[in-house]
């Protein structure tokens, strides 16, 4: 189970989804999803391919407009705002600073031809940092934090291994100290040994920084290690939700029981 955060029952939600839905013509990708995410809380969305979990992640991160319902986010001024009603400057603030987005394929989240240092520094420059020395220092300290050898700071990520690229993508996302990180199958394309190292790293970073995160994964082991709470999706609907160990150790719905019983013992 993920390390417990300082989650107290009396604080206010960071992100609220209300009756969220998305149709593509007559096809329903996602239907009637409602939940609240609190600061420091890690939520896993699990389900197999086509269950609607990736669509849901795109709706929650304002990359896709919902057909129904809405998503609200508590801005740094403490006011909960409807994402659809945000101005361009506020949206930019969210994408560049207050949110992180870790793609399954690091090539989508990194610039593959520029140096690792520049990949991390770029996010800082986008929020107004302009002192080269400070940017480079901060970038190197982040590379160290994600266990990338500083000697590789000037190399482009296309010369990196898959695991290193994913760790670099994480550094690039976390350097602006976001409050919320979206992750889409973050361990997806990696070898098992590389996955374990990455999971351990993510788990520590999330807990040290008190980050809230929404992690889409089809891997229940990832959900168990990283998340406090889990939502199980099937056919575009949330069919079961609860504390991660509760849902995995005492699954109630037939589909969840099937998922849990389908894990191959190591």
């Amino acid at each position: 189970m993920a390390e417990l955060q300082d989650v107290t029952p009396d604080d206010q939600p960071l992100l609220v989804a209300e009756h969220l839905g998305k149709n593509y013509g007559r096809l329903t990708a996602c239907r009637d999803v409602s939940f609240a995410l609190y600061p420091g809380e890690v939520l896993a969305i699990v389900g197999e391919s086509g269950s609607g979990k990736s669509t849901l992640l795109q709706l929650l991160s304002a990359q896709l407009a919902p057909s129904a319902g809405r998503v609200s986010y508590r801005m740094r001024d403490g006011v909960l705002r409807d994402l659809a009603a945000l101005g361009e400057a506020e949206r930019r603030f969210l994408f560049r600073t207050d949110w992180g987005y870790v793609h399954q394929d690091p090539a989508q989240g990194l610039r593959m031809a520029v140096s690792a240092g520049a990949n991390v520094g770029e996010r800082l420059m986008a929020v107004g940092w302009n002192h080269y020395g400070r940017i480079r220092d901060t970038a190197s300290s982040w590379l160290e934090r994600v266990e990338i050898d500083i000697a590789r700071i000037d190399d482009a990520p296309r010369t990196y291994s898959g695991g290193m690229r994913q760790r670099l993508q994480i550094a690039r996302n976390l350097v602006t100290e976001p409050r919320l990180v979206f992750m889409d199958e973050p361990t997806g394309g990696l070898d098992v040994s590389v996955q374990a190292r990455l999971l351990d790293l993510m788990r520590n970073l999330v807990s040290e920084l008190g980050l809230a995160a929404i992690v889409v994964t089809h891997d229940l082991a990832v959900a168990r290690l990283l998340s406090h709470r889990v939502m199980v999706m099937k056919g575009g609907r949330v069919i079961e939700t609860g504390l991660t160990d509760q849902v995995l150790d005492d699954p109630r719905e037939p589909y969840t029981q099937l998922l849990v019983s389908s894990i191959l013992p190591a």
Binding site: M1, V7, D200, D245, Q246, D249, D250, Q257, S261
Partner: protein
């Protein structure tokens, strides 16, 4: 109410959807309480539902009906109906659970596995590691093993790491599932000592112990689980 744990009419049934919806009643009418500084031992044959009751008190198994009152931060919270975030809060500052098997993250050093609950509660890493080391030493885990992940250890060593992890924090409630199962006599005696110390600190404990001698040493009261058997 002064009890730390107060359970009334708790009930649990598993519905096995993959086996044609077979209903497996586990327990019903579970009612007992535990006071501060008291160790209640659950007795009954294998399969009577002892571990399930512990898991229900920890919020790991859901409760179909009834009430699981837990004294948490000066108020009483019903774990049978609590929100996930409330259950997490209870686990962080009120209830600790020593399971039969250690479930540790790969790659993490033994000393850090043991220190983790203290760090999560705000103790500095250095202080937490000091306490972790002291506890590991008491439980006869040699210092040369502390930097290794416990996954490489023997069953008995893993169990002792698990006990250190469970006993390190100052939580007011501890749930113990066979804490002495794979230990030799001298390590069993250490665990009995640790339980005595927790009692003196006012910790309320619920334990499952098959060893008659250990049970006799630690139990203030015995609750017979067979009376909660849910007849199918």
């Amino acid at each position: 109410m002064t009890a730390m744990i107060d359970i009334t009419n708790a009930e649990k049934t598993f519905t096995m959807h993959l086996q044609g919806g077979v209903e497996l009643p586990v327990v019903r009418g579970v009612s007992f309480h535990v006071d501060p500084g008291e160790c209640v031992v659950l007795s009954g044959p294998s399969g009577a539902g002892k571990s399930s009751i512990l898991k229900m008190i920890f919020g790991n198994y859901r409760c179909d009906s009834g009430r699981i009152g837990i004294r948490h931060r000066g108020a009483v919270i019903d774990l049978a109906t609590a929100e996930p975030r409330e259950v997490l809060s209870v686990r962080r500052s009120t209830i600790g659970y020593v399971s039969q098997f250690l479930r540790a993250v790969p790659r993490v050093a033994t000393i850090d596995v043991v220190a983790e609950p203290l760090i999560a509660n705000g103790t500095t890493r250095a202080e937490a590691r000091d306490k972790a080391g002291a506890l590991l030493r008491r439980l006869n885990i040699p210092e040369r093993l502390w930097a290794l992940p416990p996954s490489t250890f023997s069953g008995g060593e893993q169990q002792r790491v698990n006990i250190a992890h469970g006993f390190i924090s100052d939580l007011p409630i501890l749930l113990l599932d066979e804490p002495t199962a794979s230990l030799d006599a001298s390590n069993r005696a250490v665990v009995v000592e640790l339980i005595e110390e927790k009692k003196r600190q006012g910790v309320a404990m619920v334990a499952i112990v098959h060893d008659d001698e250990i049970r006799h040493l630690i139990a203030d009261r015995i609750v017979d689980v067979t009376s909660f058997a849910a007849a199918a």
